[in-house]
Amino acid sequence: MRDVAVIGIGIQRWGELWERSLRDLFVEAALNAIRDAGVERIDSMYVGCMSPGLFIGQEHLGSLLADYLGVCPIPALRVESACASGGMAVRAGFIEVASGLSDIVLVGGVEKMTDVSSGGATYALATAADAEYEVYQGATFPGLYAMVARDYMRRYGLTREQLAQVAVKNHDNGALNPHAQFPSKLSLEAVMTSTMVADPLRLMDCSPITDGAAVAILCPLNMANELSKQPPVKISGVGAATDHIALHDRKDFCEFSATVAACERAYKMAGVGPEQIDFAEVHDCFTIAELCVIEALGFFPRGTAGQATWAGETARTGKKPINTSGGLKSKGHPVGATGVGQIHELVTQLRGAAGARQVPGVKRGLAQNMGGSGGSTVVHILEVV
């Protein structure tokens, strides 16, 4: 298996982008990535997108996006794993480069979510849960994560303030990210008094509905210097895993077993443990998800992530900075693009190019991207070479 590097990244500002279509979003980010890498061809591409069929009535994205990017006849495939679609597209591209099948692979993610009403978006997103045994009964995504939050609070004494601090901390970071949908600080009081969505989760515990795309260019590490002037960032570990799709079938609602299994594989491939990770981008689709995930990744013992967050340990200046981009909460959550957006942030930080939100001296970062209520997860470990 060949070592794989990221040599280019591209994004544009995420948000409610009424004037741009899905194809516009993807092509803009892809052109930015191709120019960033300076490559003169692409051999293959993978695009993560959760549900173009329900959001814009379009399938067959491989053909559409290769066409509009102007790269036909290269092979192009859409990858779907709900909100982990983007990360799974990166993994698919990694496999293609590592195997030797292709040298320069474009991996992207895109979602156009604001062409439907909020009810339409809720319906499309709910298809990531068990349609017949969760959604039919009245479950919503905030509702599923609220049941995780209530279980966590009861068992570990997590306070409402500690939970809210996740959103406050992520907005502190996102306020410094020019690509963020909501680049503004958020007070603890604003989170605690926001509209109740699914008790105990309030509106400011929830990631928003977002239009956006992100793209990365992969190549074999030993060809990176010849293909690109950018300092290569090595993908040293990759892991993916699944779990029961329905939350009620999980043995432990707070454990996030798919994340545990995915990160074990990634740590093993990279030859490192959680203590050697300098910073991480994780899937904070809801505040409670960030706490469960950073425990599943082995950064904090079970039941302590709320206290650690409150104590500032996951802040940009803390010992384990989490979601320096602003996370899904502040940067936005265009579901299919999110996992590639995380890779964009890791590479930006590892190049030392994150400006005001730069964490000094980081050498190794981890991205964790999750589908549904945790039914699928993909983890990447990236490091400077």
Binding site: E134, G138, P142, R154, D199
Partner: protein, 130 residues
């Protein structure tokens, strides 16, 4: 709007709580599955989900999907029935403040939603305090 056969297929589970139970390991699968895993020698036999159980965790949904927007706020819970079957269901005939982990509940047959403005009525299970 879904097609009629997709309702028919769910009827045994939603109306009669039909499940399967493994004769070897005594695990109950609701809804029924066709295998525990591809290499298991388990014998899966028809089983009816136990009618009583307890709440494991719950939420009160204030912003619901369009088809349930008239019903908010409503309580949704994950319940473990006395035979180990797990299900997600609304808790009704009970004020939200009374719902907590450990609350004993019983399955009841209720209307769940309707399919669009003039669509068919859809039934299934909710739980009430036992």
């Amino acid at each position: 709007m879904a097609f009629v056969p997709s309702y028919w297929r769910e009827t045994p589970q939603r109306y009669r709580y039909e499940a399967v139970r493994c004769e070897e390991c005594a695990k109950v699968f609701f809804p029924p599955r066709r295998s525990c895993d591809p290499w298991c020698n388990c014998k899966l036999e028809p089983h009816t989900v136990a009618q009583e159980g307890r709440v494991l965790t719950h939420t009160v949904i204030h912003i619901g999907p369009d088809q349930l927007s008239d019903e908010t706020p409503y309580v949704l819970a994950i319940c473990e029935m006395d035979d180990g079957a797990r299900l997600t269901a609304q808790v009704v005939d009970c004020s939200p403040e009374k719902v907590e982990a450990g609350l004993r509940v019983r399955i009841e047959f209720r209307r769940i939603q309707k399919d669009g403005e003039s669509g068919i009525l859809m039934y299934g299970y909710k739980v009430v305090p036992a």
